[in-house]
């Protein structure tokens, strides 16, 4: 942007400043469609079932989300396959503001395993206010349904979480799920107000120039 363009009559649309960054996790059994939900939401894309290896390499995806004139940066974290043997790292959970617990409506087992994921969440999530949402995926497979909508909703109510059903394949419900989750996080300022790094912490991604002796001069 040069100075000329900023002085023209028509205002240059500027991206709103990022009000906050939210870390959102997806957990649940292998194969329930976590990576598919992630891809559907961030890239509006669904991988053909035979293309399973394509989700390898996804650490997290970033998506901007605007609400009430404010822009939020969402980082959505995939499990990196570490759910297969239930070996998610405790650092995966750390600092999350939102967690999506996914089951597959055509797999009773994946629904029954939600308890394990809730337990793990309660062990590792540092913040008690973390917003949880139970999501039943693959509702396009209506004929093979093993978990009724009511069972899912009851479970969510018992655990005081949000609830939605969706299909990453047909994209029904995916956007709504994310919206509800993010809105709830925004409504819970205790979750993110204090995320400013506390005094004295340093992040090592930027290089601070040396004020020590250094090899580069500074001799006295």
């Amino acid at each position: 942007m040069d100075s000329a363009s900023s002085s023209t009559a028509s205002p240059v649309p500027t991206a709103p400043e990022i009000a906050s960054t939210f870390k959102i996790l997806l957990v649940g059994d292998s194969n329930v469609g976590k990576s598919s939900i992630l891809l559907r939401f961030t890239d509006d894309h669904f991988l053909p079932p035979e293309d399973t290896s394509a989700t390898i390499g996804v650490d997290f995806k970033v998506k901007m989300y605007d609400l009430d004139g404010k822009r939020y940066k969402l980082t959505l974290w995939d499990t990196a396959g570490q759910e297969r043997f239930r070996t998610l790292t405790s650092s995966y959970y750390r600092g999350a503001q939102g967690v999506i617990l996914v089951y597959d409506v055509s797999s009773r087992e994946s629904f029954e395993h939600l308890d394990n994921w809730v337990e793990e969440l309660n062990t590792y999530c540092s913040n008690d206010d973390v917003v949880k949402m139970v999501v039943g995926n693959k509702i396009d497979k209506e004929a093979e349904r093993q978990v009724s909508r009511k069972d899912g909703a009851d479970y969510a109510r018992r655990h005081q979480t949000l609830f939605l059903e969706c299909s990453a394949k047909t994209k029904i419900g995916v956007q709504q799920a994310m919206e509800e989750l993010v809105n709830k996080i925004v409504e819970t300022p205790s979750l993110w107000r204090k995320q400013l790094p506390s005094k004295g912490t340093v992040s090592v991604d930027e290089t601070v120039t040396s004020s020590g002796f250094g090899a580069n001069g500074c001799a006295c």
Partner: protein, 463 residues
């Protein structure tokens, strides 16, 4: 995907999720290896693990007794000698069964009080720092791990004697401002720091001699540079080694924070290990914890390995020597360590300090951490101390070191234990890593990983 392995093929099986093995796992996976990474514990980190207080006390009961044969738990004036493994169901009651001396009921009360805040403790059997300008920090930044780990700059470096604590000057300003240095000493120190900071020398002889002869450093000044900056511990550093260390230290000052080191929140080794394991998983690595390596059978294509959760065919194995054959591990060196909870953050409520205690020719390294790095609840401090030698011979020394630093604070709970370094002989197709050493930073952890990687990548090793 099933939670069972059915003779799946992997290029490399990595056994143990310590920081060293995790760096190796990530490097290999990034280079295209299909990696299977397992650990016998239900948590990541192996020897670099980080525990809640109850987790740490559980570790005292379930630890590898070959490696850590002796362990004393002190609570108040109560002593509990944990000399054999025990069930972990009712932890406090079990710990009390090891009672040797002192007041049992007060100890129990104190312990219950501390455990009420269990998860506010982050205890590492082997704590380490990150040097601000070194190989480990470069790797963390390069791999993007630095974005997600939180660090605090270490605030002070102290030289400790029975007389008390003295701050090691960390910057030019510090040297000038120091009240304990004479003008001549200040000039000598400046000359040393700037000369070695430029890494010009390639001298012969010992570093101690170099300091005395070339830089005319004597007494406390000599000891400060030798022990608190170059961190000489067990053996005498050569002049070259000493110069390299001072060079690294001096160049680390002021890059992030004031001092040469960073302390990671939530336990550095464990965070480093977990970060690299996750990265390895992102590029396709498979992770199994709480796993048992039941059998390794060499065959034409490497090894057939039997695990509790199935079998796998692997081309090569990288292994923490702690997993090597149960009864016949060679004993290389012994380090004694102390972990102490103080009821008062004597060196500052949000300060992190590295200290060196010198006493009758012995050197003890110490680390002081607080709630600032999430190590303890607010209002307390955690102090680590370690030195080479067996617990039988060094426990009084460690206690003295802790006592001098703790000053008026009470040590409410402390654990003293001896760690024997396990090693294993080279075997075709099995690459053994090495276990954490006595150094205060992760540079040797990085080196250990690189050493194994270069062996694996040698053209003549079998693929």
């Amino acid at each position: 995907m099933s939670d069972h392995l059915d003779n799946e093929h992997f290029d490399t099986l990595i056994v143990g999720t310590g920081a060293t093995e995790s760096i190796i796992a990530n490097e290999l996976s990034a280079a295209g290896h299909k990696v299977l990474h397992i650990d016998r514990n239900s948590y990541y980190g192996g020897p670099n693990a980080c525990f809640s207080l109850s987790g740490f006390l559980t570790w005292t009961l379930t630890r590898d007794f070959r490696q850590v044969p002796q362990l004393d738990l002190h609570i108040g004036n109560g002593l509990f000698a944990i000399d054999k493994p025990g069930p972990i169901e009712s932890l406090t009651a079990q710990l009390m069964t090891y009672h040797k001396e002192g007041d049992l009921s007060t100890a129990q009360e104190t312990l219950d009080g501390l455990l009420a805040n269990d998860r506010a403790y982050m205890v590492e059997p082997v704590p380490k720092l990150v040097l601000c300008r070194g190989n480990m920090i470069d790797l963390l930044v390069d791999q993007g791990v630095g974005d997600f780990m939180r660090f605090r700059g270490v605030d002070h470096n102290y030289l400790v004697t029975r007389q008390g604590l003295e701050r090691v000057p960390e910057s030019k300003e510090d040297i000038f401002a120091s009240t304990s240095l004479t003008l001549v000493e200040k000039r000598k120190l400046m000359r040393l720091m700037t000369t070695l900071g430029a890494n010009l020398e390639k001298p012969e002889g010992s570093f101690s001699q170099l300091l005395a002869q070339q830089f005319k450093l004597t007494g406390k000044l000599h000891d400060t540079v030798l022990y608190a900056v170059a961190r000489q511990t067990g053996y005498e550093l050569s002049a070259q080694e000493g110069c390299d260390r001072v060079y690294k230290y001096v160049n680390s000052i002021g890059r992030y924070g004031r001092m040469a080191y960073l302390c990671a929140q939530y336990g550095g080794g464990s965070e480093i290990a977990q970060s690299f394991c996750r990265l390895c998983a992102v590029t396709g690595g498979t992770y199994i914890l709480d796993e048992k390596l039941e059998c390794i059978e060499p065959n034409e294509d490497g090894f057939k390995v039997s695990l509790r959760r199935g079998t796998a065919q692997v081309s090569r194995i990288v292994m923490d020597p702690g997993y090597y054959s149960p009864n016949s591990a060679a004993l290389d060196s012994v380090v004694s360590r102390a972990v102490c909870i103080l009821d008062n953050p004597v060196l500052g409520t949000d300060t992190t300090c590295v200290l060196t205690f010198l006493d009758e020719g012995s050197v003890v390294s110490l680390l002081y951490v607080t709630s600032a790095t999430m190590a303890v609840p607010e209002g307390q401090a955690l102090m680590y101390a370690w030195t080479e030698g067996t617990i039988a011979s060094t426990k009084p020394l460690l206690q003295r070191a802790v006592g001098v630093v703790a000053q008026q604070a009470n040590v409410v709970l402390s654990v003293f234990f001896e760690v024997r370094e396990l090693t294993a002989p080279a075997t075709d197709g099995i690459f053994y890593t090495s276990q954490p050493d006595t150094s205060v930073d992760f540079e040797s952890t990085y080196d250990a990983a690189q050493q194994v990687l270069s062996m694996i990548n040698k053209p003549d090793t079998r693929i």
